[in-house]
Amino acid sequence: MITALRAVKFAFQNFGRNFWLSLITVSMLVLTLLTVNVLMVLQQVASKAIAFAEERIEVSVYFYPATAEERITGAAGYLRGLPQVRDVEVITSDEALRRFSDRHAADEAILQSLDEVGGNPFGPTLVVKAYGADDFPFILDALDNPQFRNDIREKDFSSFEDIIDRIRSTTDRIQLFGMVLSAIFLLIATLIVFNTVRIAIFIHREEIGIMKLVGATNAFVRAPFLIECLIYSLFSVAFTAVIVYSSVAVMDPKFSAFFGGESVGLLEYFIRNWYWIFGMQFVILTIINMLATMVAMRKYLRV
């Protein structure tokens, strides 16, 4: 017990005496952790963005103007019965005409040509929303059912799928880049920890020599280095947590504004999972640092 406390004391002394070395080490570890956290935030925002876009994908199914109303409601009922379908909006011919006129209220030429056609050229329309982008092929297939096929003039797929694909491929690419960057930083951080321990051993070689000659056990000689590496991990994760938390707190409302006031839930996500997120980072970082420290001690600490 006494020995453990003293090893901790020695570790803190070493940390303080080689302050600049410690600072550089911790900074590098913080940098590494930040890339990992940025990656996590990105993941979170991207999935929100995809969900946001997916909510807005819809298929407009245009029926021939002559189609009987009960056939329309029948089709709507059939679609509502599908598990993939979130919502079906029925737009009658009159409603379609009104919307079209509204949309083009400023455009004389269009309104005029509409007049020339005479009557209502619009048929009834079903606007179908699904739960996910993947559900649309099934829904479109379902509409090919001979029951409806002959009534349908056209099926129009809104272009959100393009956007989703673009979000997906962009985030996938950023994610890959981020992972490579994290891996590189982690490698550098490991080397830096290794080098820090190497230098610390070199600086303390006299002290270590004395320790051994006056009968300190090997465990006691090694313990401060391992504890010091624990301190590095602890400080790094703590700093990172502070930086990430305050950045997220600032960014969260901005993201929400971007998604039309709908909260991204980023801050909430961090508040709810912080012990898990940063605990995991601490554990992994500590394991990696310990390994680097042990390799350095094996190589440079003659015992």
């Binding site: 003293r6 000659l213 009968g215 300190a216």
Partner: protein, 226 residues
């Protein structure tokens, strides 16, 4: 107390440290080991506290066969042998008190015991007033006395001193030798490695002479020859 039986120590690749050493040092003895530079005096001393392992032969310290002592047991041995060594200095960033306390701290001694022992050993070396000085605020002789004090914290049965007066003038040399003599009178076995003629002649104790790694003479109440 210390038994060497047919001890050979060869450093790689082919350098003789000591050769064919047979030696018996009895409890309470004061033994000087003399010889020219490079004749194996330090090697002999290091073998006693397992800083080096013999290439062949057998070593026992206090009845404990340490010929092939396990790494794990070395700290135990070190706590029974006080060591004052040429290149075994004080920590410059710690005070005299802290330097002495350090040897106890790293061995897991309780704080209360440390507060007891440190003033005691500082008193033995007559530095009880200078506990809060830093090494560079002390003379060479005083520094060496702190090293001796540090070697005494575990109340060792054996004290091995390798050229403890190497860098000291005559007056400080006498101080250190008197100190070792005093420690010896309290019952500690003292092994002193030196090449100082006056010291050896004034001691009138057992002298072992090494030449080329071999013991060439071993006399009670000896004098420095060569």
């Amino acid at each position: 107390m210390i038994h060497f039986k047919n001890i050979n120590k060869t450093y790689s690749p082919n350098i003789v440290g000591v050769r064919n050493v047979n030696l018996h040092i009895r409890p309470g003895e004061f033994v000087s080991i003399v010889g020219q530079s490079g004749t194996g005096k330090s090697t002999l001393a290091k073998l006693m506290f397992a800083e080096e392992r013999p290439t062949s032969g057998q070593i026992a310290v206090g009845g404990w066969d340490i010929t092939r002592i396990r790494e794990h047991d070395v700290p135990l041995l070190r706590r029974q042998i006080g060591v004052v060594f040429q290149d075994f200095k004080l920590l410059v960033r710690r005070t005299v008190y802290e330097n002495v306390a350090f040897a106890l701290e790293v061995a897991g001694t309780p704080a209360r015991r440390i507060r007891e022992v440190v003033p005691q050993v500082l008193k033995i070396v007559n530095l009880q007033e200078k506990g809060d000085r830093y090494p560079k605020q002390l003379s060479g002789g005083e520094q060496q006395r702190v090293v001796v004090a540090r070697s005494l914290v575990h109340r060792p049965k054996i004290l091995v001193a390798d050229e403890p007066t190497g860098n000291l003038d005559t007056i400080h040399t006498r101080e250190i030798i008197d100190l070792l003599r005093k420690i010896n009178e309290f019952g500690t076995t003292v092994v002193l490695v030196t090449h100082n003629r006056e010291v050896v002649n004034a001691l009138k104790k057992r002298v072992i002479t090494l030449e080329g790694g071999e013991i060439t003479s071993d006399v009670e109440e000896g004098r420095y020859k060569l």
